[in-house]
């Protein structure tokens, strides 16, 4: 396939994004046609997804689209199964968040189109980021994602908290990407290249120590996106202040993107250097899991609790990367680590977006997201209550839900590499998480609520909840195709050895 066709998903989503923004400007506030803009965004998401499926079968090996740099062929974007997998995650996130945002956006803001246009652009930035194989491209895509995220976080511009959240996010992000840039320039200085594959090839002239220092500085930037401890502090504040659909987006999209780029840097650029990354990755994973879970324990606001819980979830994903880094280079074991991360991420995406959909429904109805207000939900909406139960089971990792399969793979990968302590920390953290997830469920099922009026669920919302519930169960009950998908997508590994 030629380069242009490999980029059709990106091109499609860009066209839709700009079409939405232009129409939004062209139609004035009273124009009823504006109502189609969310659906246009939805159509754009679906079209992009179709393009990804269209490309998928053609990408069976490590495939580059070429862009020129200084007159020579230097690949900037890789269209391989791994990037397509992450693009799929990004687009699905945009679609599901877009669908659940409708009522919320209508209620809280006067700008309908702009919101959806920015969402698509954020999706585009993730798609670029997960394909990047060049430090400069990584930086540009990362900043693109950051800037769209800052704007979306501060989208409720009459709400002081939303503004504060955006400002904190921005200032924090500015420092983090500054530190990351130092890392990039150090890596460039040490190896003389900004291309990941070339960096990998320059090991004989480079000191491992400098590369390690560079990677640690870069970790500040990637860790900021994934919200890894100790670069996580922006996330609870930003999550609480941001419009809830954006919180949902932040909890999946940038995390997936950061993880993808971290995986790519680790897998493509670094394995040649004889450095043992396992201790650092394990340490960060342990801290991320533990801090996330311990702080989530005493949150009483749903959004904030989910912020911490998603920090912890990112920690579990990092366990998979630590397991990968501990494997001998030739091992393509069936519990490999990277495929485990992908499977976990797929499960996590559906589950977490499902939880947020419910949080949005309840916030639309009740105006708050305090956990105390979830009391007696079972009487108000048995369907949502059972859905919430399934989602939380999945987040804890209890069968028969997708989260269980994800954790089985991730911890299985760790055990397989002999990282027993890490796996044990993971299991122990899962136990802690039972306490706060089931604390919410206790309210939902056992407490008596002050209000017993039934919860109204719109069509779009209903679709989101149903899709996410079905997928959460399906990945567990009929896991084979998804496991295969993750394994195929991780073949970037095989191509490198």
């Amino acid at each position: 396939m030629d380069a242009l066709r490999l980029l059709t998903p990106e091109i499609t989503i860009t066209i839709f994004a700009f079409a939405i923004i232009s129409l939004d400007i062209a139609w004035n506030d009273e124009n009823k046609s504006r109502r189609i803009l969310p659906w246009l965004a939805f159509a754009g998401g679906l079209a992009t997804l179709l393009m990804i499926f269209y490309i998928w079968p053609h990408v069976d090996q490590y495939n580059y689209t070429a862009a020129t740099d200084a007159g020579r062929e230097v690949p900037m974007l890789a269209v391989d199964r791994m990037s397509l997998f992450f693009k799929m995650i990004a687009v699905l996130t945009v679609i599901l968040v877009g669908l659940s945002a409708g009522e919320y956006v209508e209620k809280h803001t006067p700008f309908r189109g702009e919101f959806y246009g920015l969402m698509l652009l954020a999706g585009l930035s993730i798609m670029l980021l997960v394909s990047s194989t060049n430090l400069i491209m990584i930086y540009l895509a990362l900043e693109f994602l950051s800037i769209t995220s800052y704007i979306l976080t501060g989208f409720l511009r009459r709400d002081a908290r939303s503004i504060e959240a955006a400002l904190k996010y921005f200032l924090y992000g500015a420092l983090a990407s500054g530190v990351m840039l130092y890392g990039f320039s150090l890596l460039y200085g040490a190896t003389g290249s900004v291309d990941l594959a070339t960096i990998a090839g320059s090991l004989e002239t480079t000191q491992a120590g400098l590369v390690v220092a560079a990677v640690i500085l870069m970790l500040a930037g990637f860790g900021f996106k994934i919200a890894l401890v100790p670069f996580h502090q922006w996330s609870p504040d930003a999550y609480e202040g941001a419009p809830t659909p954006i919180t949902a987006f932040l909890s999946v999209g940038p995390k997936a993107a950061g993880l993808a780029v971290l995986i790519r840097v680790m897998v493509v650029a670094l394995p040649a250097f004889d450095v043992n990354w396992t201790p650092i990755l394990s340490l960060v994973a342990i801290f991320t899991m533990s801090v996330g879970n311990l702080v989530a324990l005493w949150q009483t606001n749903m959004k904030r609790m989910l912020a911490y819980s998603s920090i912890a979830q990112a920690g579990y994903m990092l366990v998979g990367l630590a397991a990968w880094s501990a494997a001998p280079p030739s091992a393509v074991a069936y519990l490999g680590g990277v495929d485990a991360i992908m499977l976990f991420l797929l499960a996590y995406m559906f589950t977490n977006l499902g939880v947020f959909a419910i949080a949005i429904i309840l916030e639309n109805q009740m105006g708050t997201s305090e956990i105390a207000d979830y009391a007696g939900l079972i009487r108000r909406s048995p369907y949502l209550s059972v859905a919430l139960l399934i989602f939380f089971l999945s987040l804890v990792g209890i069968p028969p839900t997708s989260g269980f399969i994800g954790k089985l793979f991730v911890f299985g990968a760790a055990v397989n590499q002999g990282l027993y302590v890490l796996a044990l920390f993971g299991v122990f953290n899962s136990v802690i998480s039972v306490a706060y997830y089931f604390g919410v469920l206790r309210n939902v099922f056992f407490e008596k609520g002050s209000d017993e009026s039934p919860i109204r669920v719109g069509v779009a919302m209903n679709t989101v909840v149903t899709i996410t519930v079905v997928m959460t169960l399906l990945i567990a009950l009929y896991g084979q195709p998804f496991i295969q998908l993750a394994a195929d997508s991780a073949q970037i590994l095989a191509a490198n050895f």
Partner: protein
Amino acid sequence: MVLEAVLSGFVLALFAPWIYKVGRGAAGWILALLPIGIFIYFATFVPPVAEGETFVFAQTWVPSIDISLSFNVDGLSLLFAMIISGVGALVIIYAGGYLAHDRDINRFYVYILMFMASMLGVVLSDNVITIFIFWELTSITSFMLIGYYHEKPESRTAALQALLVTGAGGLALMAGLVMMALVGGSWEISELLNRGDVITGSSLYVPILILVLAGAFTKSAQFPFHFWLPNAMAAPTPVSTYLHSATMVKAGIYLMARFSPALGGTQTWTVVVTSFGAVTMLLAAHMAWQKKDLKQILAYSTVSALGILTMLLGVGTHAALEAALVFLVVHSMYKGGLFMVAGAVDHEAGTRDIALLSGLRKAMPITGAAAVLAGLSMSGIPPFFGFVGKELIYESTTEFDMSAILLTVFAFLTNGLTITAALLVAHKPFFGSKLSAPKHPHEAPLTMWLGPVTLGTLGLLFGLLAGWVGEFLIAPAVSAVQHHQTEVHLALWHGFSMILLLSLVTIAFGVLVYWKHEVLGRWFAPSNVISKWGPEQWYFWSLDGMLGFGRWQTRLLQSGYLRNYLLIIIFSTVGLGLYTLSKYNVFSQNTIFRPIDVTSYEFMFMALIVASAFVVTQVRSRLAAVAALGVVGYGVAIIFVLDGAPDLAMTQFSIETLSVILLVLVLYRLPRFIQFSRSRPKKITEITAALAGGGFMALLVLLVTALPAQSRLAPYFAENSYKLAHGHNVVNVILVDFRGFDTMGEITVLGIAAVGVFGLLKLRLDKTRQTDTPPDVLTTQHQSADVFPVMEREQS
């Protein structure tokens, strides 16, 4: 077929609310048809299994990781499956009466059917992942069932406690099972059982054993995890009957029995399992007779019975396994019956306090008769099946080769106190003079006495037909646990022996304690400190500890102040970076203290940069700070010029100019300048952070510049600028030719930014506040003590 038998419970659960809508009061009877059907289905397996056959049913599920829905019907799983379905049918019928007037009874049916199906899954699964899946499902359904009386806070607390304890154990179990599967090389349990020597010989044997036992001990309420079970008595009585005596708490026992061919037979196994079991059985028996609440007595005596079973599995001899399986059947029958009796008494008389209950036999003759039948079996009186069980227990403890005497003394005390508990539950409420109960008691309805009467009668029948039961039910189960075919001969009468004498003395001891239980209760009251300092307190302490730790580290890490966040980024990257650099010994090379070629005017500009950076931190006016920042930027640009990068310098100049102008424009809308860090410690931290960050970066620059430059760009441009672009000025060629698009992009961006700035300046969002008062948000934020206010955050 087995798969359908297991899954049918889940399917029926989905329809249960609808069946309740149609069937109303008869719903219990209708729903009980399913467990009855399952029971009959499994009963057809009894003859072939007794012949030594096992049946395996497999269905692939996730082939790539070898998870299959495989089920194995052998003696052990068959015995459990029949107990689960049989008691299940009786409990569902019983619940139809017990909860008849409850508004949530439809939900109850859903949960209990799902629980039954999960429990069947646990005992029938032949795959380590599948067994874990069903295992966790029992924990979740039990969470729902214990919390069923959700108005009561103690129900809710107990539900969460049971879930945390058994859920934690379950996750440990999963870790153990996965490790066992990796060591044993198979995910099928029946395969793993063939590889016992590989597993016990592996270096991971002890961790595997600990993890698997953690799962079994939490589920089966062994000391020190036993406390959740008495608290779970907050559940409705049908739940206590089913989950907390007959089935769920036996899942741990099942697990130990199932895996004993793979994990058992070692000294570690014998010592650990036997001693946990022995301690649990005696402690719990001692707690049981001092309780005043019928259900509490039964709960502690259940813990004690589970201890006996664990102890017997630990001993692991043929006699002990025989005893364990007989006692398992005995216990399910009498304890199930007695729980139902306790529920009926509570339902009809309005209390479960034994001090208030007496002489109910006239009012509740059938319930009373059922209680007596079960009580006799529990006390181990011939010809009840309980007698057979007790004889076998003594037989195995007296033959224990490590310390027979100690174990027999433990068993003696436990059995004696069990008899006391049996008398307290089955004798005290029904005999003696009539006391005034809160409600006027009358006989329970058919639904509520059917269960206890059936189970009580079975206890008698099994005793009379002991030989037959031994051959068809116990022998196949013992064979399964021992992993080879074996025979069991049960009989009521073993002739006069030490053991019979021991049984008689036990009965005398039990009756004596019962007779004097009020006096003895006062004597032994101090021994209850264990409940004050016991494991339940550890549970609460660890919960509190976790919460406290969480809160402490939130204060530390999540203060809400951006200043702290940024400090953490700087310190952690510098710390991690220095650590790795020192680990890789980069300092040892002669890189840091080397002569660097610096001209005098470079020094001058550097001094200027440092000085203005210092000024930025010191001045009290924003305008001055911005100006000083501008000086820093221009200084850097001049250094670029000096180092031969005029294009970079040009960009730097224009960006610097633009940002200074922008900042000045923004400044004039901002409120009064405030000094952020006033206190000395804050200043010291900030100075440290600045020095650490700057120093670290300087160090890195030194390290990198020590390397030979590897850029291929400079030679490339030098070589090609004339060849390809016909230009002698390399910089010009780069700007307008090689990077022509870049330059165009830069110009465009600058232009758009300028338009944006212009738009912002012209923007009058709100006419009233644009001159004097700055916008709301910023004001609020600057008026607070630090840069940003702490976001409103909940306190637990």
